[in-house]
């Protein structure tokens, strides 16, 4: 611990102590300003007028219907995306077919499309001035400015999450275990439930976790397609915007704090999964 190690590294594959210290300090300071400060600000603003005022925000009918709607939307969109992810991963990793690479690009597409553009595309497809939309209206099926549209928009923005986690894991695991189960006489479904699913369960949970966090917090796409009908199509993030624009700061930040808590729970579970099942998620992290 002489000052030599301060300016000369103790190993050729690391930097001198002084450099490391300065870099670590800078990084920690930036993380504090860029990441932790906004997070703390949410809770500080929510509690600006004390616990009572903050809790009162949840008592309003608007807030409660927003929470309910967000939960229901996630409860439908996330399982549907999980089914999609499992089906896509099975088709893509267990079979060889033409156009596979292009298909994977299509699955990833929603990650690079603006949520607002996604909402716009859904409005143009299902809205009243498209032929499909006109037909839907004639048959009394509302998608735009209604619940189904919110679900579709949520599915769009969270679309690749589960598939992206499962595909690398299933590629790495190969097909031998499924094949051997077949030679032992197992049916397709049995192979899936007794061999494939146990092998991918942690990766699946991981994907569902991320998918759910994004689904409950989606703003842009839902803002466009929901029409923001108060008490009917306002999800929590939309309600936050409304409260905020009405200068109901405590109410806005209290709802925001609830979503921030959800984010913290998600991160905690995610980290726990990464530490406990690093081996099973290894393929995922490499992509």
């Amino acid at each position: 611990m002489s000052d030599i190690t301060l300016i000369r590294a103790e190993s050729v594959t690391t930097e001198p102590r002084l450099v490391r210290g300065v870099v670590i300090a800078t990084v920690l300071a930036l993380i504090a300003v860029l990441l932790f400060a906004p997070l703390i600000a949410v809770f500080a603003e929510a509690l600006r007028q004390g616990w009572a005022a903050s809790l009162e925000a949840f008592a309003s009918a608007d807030a409660q219907s927003a929470i309910r709607l967000t939960l229901i939307v996630a409860a439908i969109a996330v399982p549907l995306n999980a089914v999609f992810g499992i089906a896509a991963a099975w088709a893509i990793t267990k079979f060889d077919f033409r156009g596979k690479a292009f298909l994977i690009t299509l699955i990833d597409l929603p990650f690079s499309v603006s949520p607002v553009v996604a909402g716009l595309a859904l409005v143009l497809l299902f809205g009243v001035n498209s032929s499909l939309g006109a037909w839907l209206v004639a048959n009394d099926l509302k998608i735009v400015f209604a619940f189904p549209g919110i679900v579709l928009a949520t599915m769009f923005v969270t679309f690749p999450f589960v598939a992206r986690e499962l595909i690398p894991v299933m590629i790495e695991q190969g097909r031998a275990e499924e094949e051997v189960a077949l030679t032992l006489g197992a049916s397709g479904w049995r192979v899936f439930f007794t061999v494939t699913l146990p092998n991918i369960r942690w990766a699946l949970l991981y994907g569902v976790l991320l998918c759910n966090a994004r689904a409950m917090g989606e703003f842009g796409a839902v803002a466009v397609i929901s029409g923001k009908i108060r008490g009917e199509t306002t999800t929590m993030p939309i309600m936050i915007e409304m409260f905020y624009n009405e200068y109901l700061s405590v109410a806005a930040f209290s709802l925001a704090a609830l979503l921030a808590l959800l984010a913290l729970v998600t991160l905690t579970l995610k980290s726990a999964l990464e530490w406990r099942h690093a081996d099973l998620l290894a393929a995922t992290r490499r992509h």
Binding site: A37, P110, P115, A252, F253, L267, S271
Partner: protein, 279 residues
């Protein structure tokens, strides 16, 4: 169908079912809506489309979205590389906490991030109060948009580069040292080129996400036409005016930018796979 799509038959069952479910959901959720948007563009026709996009307000919005995204992503490229290196190679108190916190922008809803950043950087906010006497205004200026985009794009480069650093062979760095290279030279000429493909992938992902970002930006931007009005907000405004054609025109312009970036990401990955066999 089975025979025509599959390259070779497989003993594993369920291709028809899984492929069918995949294509059905993919079509309803993604392909048909995107198709409807592009179809709308075809109906309007390229000339009218161009006329609708070709206004000062839209050009400023598009260039603002792209410029701010580029600046934020470049910051995140540099910071992400350093952060990934620190998280993998250095041991310090709180490392695991920082590692977990890097994903906060993925998990925190964008609207929540938006109002939180606004509260911090508004003239009466914690940071705003400090910066105001220095003559720096963040909230309701372009600088605020940068801050929001830095926040939402922060994890991308870290998460693509981190696994590559974990798998770096230390021998290569040692060889470089035995050949007489100083540490800085080794980092610049040996380590950095190995990380470049992953870093570029992360950069492109962050850029794609930032260009289209809406929720975190609109609260802090101030949304002054020609100055701090981003392209996605313009779409929302056109839609609220029920001017679907104009909204579609801007949407198509943004979609083309997305496609271009998706193509760039794929090219980077193909290039890097050829070069060093890493994805």
């Amino acid at each position: 169908m089975r025979a025509s799509i599959l390259r070779s038959p497989s003993p594993l069952p369920g291709f028809g079912l899984s492929f069918g479910i995949m294509m059905a959901i993919l079509s309803i959720v993604v392909l048909l809506p995107i198709g409807a948007l592009l179809g709308r563009g075809l109906m309007i026709g390229p000339a009218d489309l161009w006329d609708m996009v070709n206004s000062r307000r839209i050009w400023s919005a598009l260039s603002l979205s792209f410029r701010a995204a580029l600046i934020a992503s470049l910051f995140n490229l540099a910071f992400g590389l350093i952060l990934a290196w620190v998280l993998v190679r250095y041991r310090f108190w709180g490392r695991k906490l920082v590692d977990a916190a890097v994903d906060l922008p993925f998990a925190l809803p964008t609207a929540v991030a938006g109002i939180a950043l606004t509260a911090l950087y508004a003239p009466n906010g914690v940071f705003g109060q400090v910066l105001a006497p220095l003559g720096i205004k963040v909230a309701y200026t372009e600088l605020g948009i940068w801050m929001a985009l830095i926040f939402i794009g922060l994890p991308f480069v870290v998460r693509t580069v981190q696994p590559v650093i974990e798998e770096l062979e230390r021998e290569v760095e040692e060889v470089s040292a035995t050949l007489g290279a100083r540490r800085a030279y080794t980092l610049r000429r040996v380590v950095l080129p190995t990380l470049a493909p992953a870093a570029l992938t992360g950069f492109a992902l962050a850029l794609a996400r930032s260009v289209g970002e809406y929720g975190s930006v609109i609260f802090i931007a101030g949304n002054i036409p020609n100055l701090t009005e981003i392209a996605p907000l313009l779409i929302v405004i056109r839609l609220e005016e029920y001017n679907y054609d104009a909204a579609a025109a801007i949407g198509i312009a943004m979609l083309l930018i997305s496609f271009a970036m998706l193509l760039a990401i794929n090219l980077v990955q193909i290039w890097s796979r050829r070069r060093i066999g890493l994805v």
